[in-house]
């Protein structure tokens, strides 16, 4: 696609976008845009960063995105990375107006990284150096201990990297840390590799936890910023299409129509701004029956937005600010199996009396790290066999058995024979999986049909 801008022009406008964002009260860090080739963009997506340590899964992600691009014409418009200065990759094949919207979108992400309090736990100033060091270390170990040996450790470490509490929690809830500290069999170089993964996960995990807010934030501000730019009516018209197109992106679910974080976050933030603006103007009287968050705190809409983006992450954001009105506006519904379990059907929608709370609770359970099963370590000398027992903290969602098998196989490489205790919807009693290096066994404790070792 040919485009109608030069790098100088884009650079000129990028500064206007940045200044406009600041005039609204955003406080982004220094912004570095890089216009990259289509394949390099996908590479950055694959590592979730400008670079990362070697692992086959990155090659897989690259190939998958490449296929998406080549077959369906789908792909990212930008990749923003939480570093200081903030790094973002842009595509060379977008129109001038599209680039304006994308740059505004990205600068809002930058502001979010810089000001959301959970991101204060990351060290964006050193992340690029750390990634480079980690990459070097992994490459050196591959040379020294062999690609496959290193891959085994990384497979296992990646597998359980997100199984951790975000704050607090017991020792045994921090899977990777616990293994590094207490596995008797791990060698130093293997621990180093686990630390590489742990260190990088520390950086990336907050993105999961703020996905709805961060995308909503960027979707909201791209619109407000670009609307405030001195552009022509024609360009304004094109920009409108881009707001919709970008906000529509990101619906990625087996069900095609499940909730899109861009859209959801955008709708909540917009509603929030409108309500606080109305309260500031005195035209909206807070309802006694609503919760405390609706009591006016003296802030106007924009200041309220800035406050919420600093203090919240997704779960609490949904709890405090997803109103039934927004739910109805978005047409939220719950799905589940029908009575016979033969089909997935729509169970309730937001219009239905009393169903909104359920919908919101389910969204809260499923968002951020809640989209991954919670697993902790229960015993490191299970049945006096010197074998590790993990426990899945079942919350109504069953594990996928084939993935469980793969994961136990990966853990075996680090820890030897491993156990996992879980539950299922069918039987509300502990159920065990076991991998001993040769076979994958399962059964209920004491059941005659169990193939587990006694």
């Amino acid at each position: 696609m040919s485009h109608n801008w030069t790098v100088e022009e884009l650079s000129h406008w990028a500064n206007i976008v940045d200044a406009t964002a600041r005039s609204f009260g955003l406080q982004p860090r220094q912004m570095d845009f890089v216009i990259v080739s289509p394949d390099r963009l996908i590479e950055i997506q694959a590592y979730n960063a400008p670079l990362g340590h070697a692992h086959w899964s990155r090659g897989k992600t690259f190939q998958v995105w490449q296929t998406m691009r080549d077959v369906k014409g789908a792909g990212a418009l930008e990749v923003a990375f939480n570093a200081d200065p903030c790094f973002a990759a842009l595509r060379p094949d977008q129109s001038f107006v599209a680039q304006l919207v994308i740059m505004a979108h990205t600068i809002a992400h930058n502001d979010f990284f810089a000001n959301n309090r959970w991101f204060a736990k990351t060290s964006p100033d050193t992340i690029l150096n750390r990634l480079a060091e980690n990459r070097k270390l992994v490459n050196a170990y591959m040379k020294r201990y062999g690609e496959k040996q290193v891959e085994k450790v990384l497979d296992a470490a990646h597998a359980i990297a997100v199984q951790r509490p975000l704050v607090g929690g017991q020792d045994r809830d921090w899977l990777l840390s616990y293994i590094i500290d207490y596995s008797p069999s791990l060698q130093d170089w293997q621990k180093d590799l686990c630390r590489v993964v742990e260190n990088e996960t520390d950086h990336f995990i907050w993105q999961y936890e703020t996905k709805i807010m961060n995308e909503g934030w960027a979707s909201l501000w791209q619109k407000r910023i670009v609307n405030a730019l001195p552009i022509t009516e024609e360009q304004r018209f094109e920009a409108k299409d881009w707001y919709a197109a970008i906000t529509k992106r990101g619906a990625s679910s087996a069900f095609g129509e499940a909730v899109n974080p861009y859209h959801l976050g955008f709708a909540i933030f917009e509603d929030l701004k409108n309500r606080w603006d109305a309260m500031a103007e005195g035209s909206f009287i807070s309802n006694e029956e609503n919760n405390d968050n609706d009591v006016w705190d003296g802030l106007n809409g924009t200041d309220k937005l800035l406050q919420v983006r600093s203090l919240y992450r997704d779960r609490r954001f949904l709890q405090d600010f997803l109103t039934q009105e927004v739910g109805i506006q978005l047409g939220l519904w719950r799905y589940g199996p029908n009575a016979r379990g033969s089909q997935m059907v729509i169970v309730t929608d937001t219009m239905e009396e009393g169903s909104f709370e359920n919908i919101r609770n389910e969204l809260m359970r499923d968002c951020g790290l809640g989209s991954f099963p919670s697993v902790s370590i229960k015993d490191t000398n299970y049945k006096n066999r010197h074998e590790w027992l993990f426990v899945h903290n079942w919350d109504g969602r069953d594990l996928d058995v084939s993935y469980t098998r793969l994961t136990l196989m990966a853990l075996f490489d680090l820890l030897g024979p491993v156990w996992l205790e879980t539950r299922t919807r069918k039987r509300n009693a502990p159920y065990f999986y076991y991998f001993d290096g040769a076979s994958f066994l399962s059964g209920a404790e004491g059941s005659s049909r169990s193939t587990l070792p006694r």
Partner: protein, 380 residues
């Protein structure tokens, strides 16, 4: 503080190549699992070995604890009503739930493989009999010519310039005519490359394919027999330098036909499979004597055979078995199987193998079973 933009659109990926290579190596194993579908693909079986086929292939799963098929979740978008089936959903089909962290772009990619690579993958893992072709020294139809030394006479196109020039110089020195201005070539100087014809160790095989053309032949049945023929022929070609194919179409009578006719001909009426076996035996006797040829015989049938042909068929089959290296009986989408009647033959002859195919994607498996069977026999 100002926003910076740098232009690096000329730079390709920097780090990913190694990771792509590793992933490719790992999913190569997945190709094996996909083979049965691939062989059931018209594009594959009607292509040259070097032809590239784009194959949809599953990526490797990353070990990770995950939730099973979403039992419940939240969706968005108006216009739905309670009780309505979820669009495009099958229970147990989906992965992840409404709010999967990180975008999952799907788990399938396209890879290019040549038809030969696909076939290699199919036979690589299977411990198939390593055919030891008989070396048929007696049949030297095809010889190779090699240059070996020089000779004084020959066609000018085989003139050996360097040898000829050397001889001229030798003659000149011998004559002491060192400073002579002109010293032309003479006929006696010329040397020609000598060609010797050497017999090449020759291995000959003939693949005789027989098909029941009576009754209806759906596209799928036709396809399955085509795929089976393609597989067996391709496999034999791997092992022999000289491979011929013979096509026999039969109903109550059998005759040799062209390849095109073989797959298209349809006739109504009864079926006597003995006719095909007799015809095959006749052709072998006439053109492909087992002293010089290894014979592979494959018969595709829907299992129907007239009752009165039962014993003649078994007799003819047994007679044929003595001349062939493989007798493959392939029953396709059968309604009345004949396989059981071959039971005794199958027990007595290790080179007999019968398989049954119901669906397109069972072709590769059937082919492997057929060959593994004679392999086991060879080892027994």
């Amino acid at each position: 503080m100002s926003v910076r933009i740098s232009d690096r659109r000329d730079e390709g990926p920097r780090f990913i190549q190694r990771d792509i290579k590793r992933h490719k190596a790992l999913i190569h194993k997945n190709l094996m699992k996909r083979l049965h579908d691939l062989i059931a693909n018209e594009e594959v079986i009607s292509s040259e070995g070097s032809r590239k086929i784009r194959v949809k292939i599953s990526t490797l799963k990353e070990p990770q604890f995950r939730f099973g098929h979403a039992p419940q979740g939240v969706g968005e978008g108006g216009g739905v009503r309670k009780g309505q089936q979820l669009p495009g959903s099958q229970p147990g089909q989906s992965q992840g739930n409404g709010q999967q962290a990180g975008s999952e772009p799907g788990e399938e990619i396209y890879e290019e493989y040549t038809v030969d690579e696909i076939f290699d993958a199919l036979i690589a893992d299977l411990n198939l009999p390593d055919l030891e072709p008989k070396v048929k020294g007696a049949l030297e139809l095809d010889r190779v010519s090699k240059s070996k030394g020089t000779q004084p006479r020959g066609n000018m196109s085989r003139l050996h310039r360097r040898a000829s020039a050397k001889r001229r110089i030798k003659r000149r020195i011998a004559q002491g005519a060192v400073s002579a201005e002109r010293f032309p070539f003479r006929e006696e100087d010329l040397r020609f490359r000598r060609r010797v014809r050497e017999p090449r160790p020759e291995s000959n095989a003939v693949v005789i394919l027989a098909r029941d053309v009576s009754g209806s032949m759906s596209d799928e049945k036709k396809y399955i027999s085509k795929a089976m023929c393609w597989l067996i022929t391709k496999w034999v070609r791997r092992k022999y330098t000289n491979v011929k194919t013979v096509f026999i179409a039969h109903h109550t009578e059998a005759s040799e036909v062209s390849e095109k006719e073989f797959f298209t001909r349809v006739s109504s009426g009864g079926t006597a499979i003995s006719s095909a076996y007799k015809e095959a035996k006749r052709i072998i006797g006439e053109k492909y004597q087992p002293a010089f040829w290894d014979v592979y015989f494959v018969h595709c049938s829907d299992g129907e055979n007239e009752d009165r042909d039962r014993d003649p068929a078994l007799e003819a089959a047994e007679a044929l078995l003595k001349f062939v290296k493989l007798f493959g009986y392939v029953e396709i989408k059968t309604t009345q199987s004949f396989i059981a009647k071959f039971k005794e033959l199958a027990a007595a002859y290790l080179n007999f193998s019968a398989v049954s195919i119901k669906e397109k994607n069972q072709v590769a498996r059937a082919f492997i079973n057929m060959l593994s069977h004679i392999n086991d026999g060879a080892e027994a």
